[in-house]
C-alpha cells in the first residue's frame, strides 16, 4: 500500500514537474562570471560540482529553449539541428559533453573554431532552457515534455517524435 502510494505520488509530482511554468530561476538569476573557465585551480583538486539542470523535463522550458534557439540565431551555424558551420546537434556525437552542465558551459564559455561565448549575454535561465532544448534535439528528454512541430516549413521530424540517441563522447575535454 505504502509503495503504491509512493508510486502514485511520484507520478503526480512528475506531471507537476513537467507542466510547471517557471518565469524565473527558483533562486533568482546570478551572474555567470563564476563559471569555471579553466580546470586549473589552486590547492588540492576538489570534485567538480555536478550542476543539475533545473528544467530537464519541463515542457515549458523546452519550448522556450526552442524559441530562443532560433531567436538567438543558433540556427545560423547549427541549422535545425542537422549542423552546417557548427556541428550537428541531433545526432549522438557529443564533442564537448552531453551532460546538462557541460552543454551549459559550452554555451556560456564558447568553444574553439567558432562557437562564441555567450557569457553575460544570455541570462542563466535562458541558457538552461537552451540546454534542455539541445538535449531534446537528439531525443534525450521525456517524450511527454519534448516540443512538437512548429507552425513553420518542416525541416525535420519534431523533437517529440525523434528516437532517443544515446550520447557518445567523441571530442577531447
Amino acid at each position: 500500500m505504502k509503495r503504491r502510494l509512493a508510486i502514485a505520488l511520484l507520478v503526480l509530482t512528475a506531471a507537476c514537474e513537467r507542466e510547471r511554468r517557471d518565469f524565473k530561476l527558483p533562486n533568482g538569476d546570478h551572474l555567470t562570471a563564476a563559471t569555471q573557465v579553466s580546470q586549473l585551480q589552486p590547492g588540492a583538486p576538489s570534485p567538480p560540482p555536478v550542476v543539475e539542470s533545473p528544467f530537464q523535463d519541463n515542457a515549458y522550458a523546452l519550448s522556450e529553449g526552442k524559441r530562443l534557439y532560433s531567436a538567438f540565431n543558433c540556427v545560423g551555424c547549427h541549422a535545425q539541428g542537422g549542423g552546417a558551420i557548427g556541428p550537428a546537434l541531433m545526432d549522438h556525437r557529443w564533442i564537448y559533453g552531453s551532460r546538462p552542465d557541460q552543454i551549459f558551459s559550452t554555451i556560456v564559455q564558447g568553444r574553439p573554431n567558432g562557437m562564441p561565448s555567450f557569457a553575460g549575454k544570455i541570462p542563466d535561465q535562458q541558457v538552461w532552457q537552451l540546454v534542455a532544448y539541445v538535449q531534446s534535439m537528439s531525443g534525450n528528454v521525456p517524450k511527454d515534455a519534448a516540443p512538437a512541430r512548429n507552425d513553420d516549413m518542416q525541416a525535420s521530424k519534431p523533437e517529440l517524435r525523434r528516437e532517443p540517441k544515446p550520447p557518445v563522447q567523441t571530442g577531447h575535454r
Binding site: 511554468r21 524565473k24 538569476d29 553575460g120 549575454k121 541570462p123
Partner: protein
Amino acid sequence: MLQSVLESAGIQAARVESEWWFIFRVTTVVTVIVLAGLAVAVRRGLRGRDTGASEQRMLRYIGIAGAITVVILFAILVRSIFTSRALASERVSDVMQIEVMAYQWWWSVEYQHPEPEQRVRTANELHIPVGKTVAIKLLASDVIHSFWVPSLAGKLDAIPGHEAVLWLRADRAGVYRGQCAEYCGFQHAHMAFVVIAEPPDDFERWIQAQRKTANQPQSPIEQRGLQLVQQRACVMCHTIRGTAAGGRIAPDLTHFATRSTIAAGTLPRTPEHVNAWISDPQAIKPGNRMPTIALAPEDRAAIVAYLEQLR
C-alpha cells in the same frame, strides 16, 4: 486616456456609435413593452378570472406580435448593413500605410516608405495625423491577436498566415488607448498600445525625428549605459539604430524616450518604472519574454540613464 466604444473620436467608431444608439433605443423600447405585457399577463393570471379567450384569437395576436418582431429585426438588419457599407467605404488605396506586427505580448509598428532607411520602426505606439485615413496592415508573428482601439474603430484579428487591413481615421486630436482583444496567452491582459492622433505638422515632425538614428550619449553615466547595453543581454533582442544592438525579436528602442509607456502599456515610462522593469520584468508582467538579468544597481542606473536620453 480613452478606451471606450461610446466616446468615439474617429469616423469609423462614430458610425458604430450611432448604430449602437439606434439599436439600443429600439431594443429598450421592445424590452419595456414585452416586460410590461408580461406584468399585465401575470396580474391578470393571478386574479385567475376565466377569460374564455379563444386560442384562435390569442394566436392571432401572437402572429401580429411576431410580424412586428420581423419588421423591427428587418429595420435593424438594414441599418446594420448600411453601417457596414459605410465602414467599407473608407477603404481607399492612396493612404498612409502602417504595418503592425503583433507579437506575444507587444506590438511592433512600422511606417512604410519606398526607401528602406526612411522606414520607421517603433513599438506599442502609433502616431497618426488627424483627419487622414490610414491603412493599418495587421500581421501576427506567433498566435492570433486582435487590434482594437475602441475610440477609433472596431477590432480586426491578426492571424498568422493571413493579412488584414484596417482603415481608420481620427477626427479629434488625442491619445487613444487600444488593447489586444483576442486571447493570446499569459500576458493577453498587458498587451496594450496607444494611438496618438496629432495635427499633420506635429505628425510630420515626429516622423522626421523617428527617422534619425539614436542619440549619442553625453554624460559619462549615459556612456557607461550604452556600453552595458552593448555588452550585456540587451543586444540579443533589442535594436537601437546607430549602435551595435540589432536584435529583432523585441521592441525597437532607438527612440525609447519618446514613448509614453513601457512593456506594452503596462507602466508609464518614468525612470523609476524603467529601473523596476529592468530589475525584475517577470514580477511586473509574469511570463513575458524579457528575462530577469542580473545587474548591479549602479549598472542598472546607467542603463536607465542611457535609455532616458534616447529621444
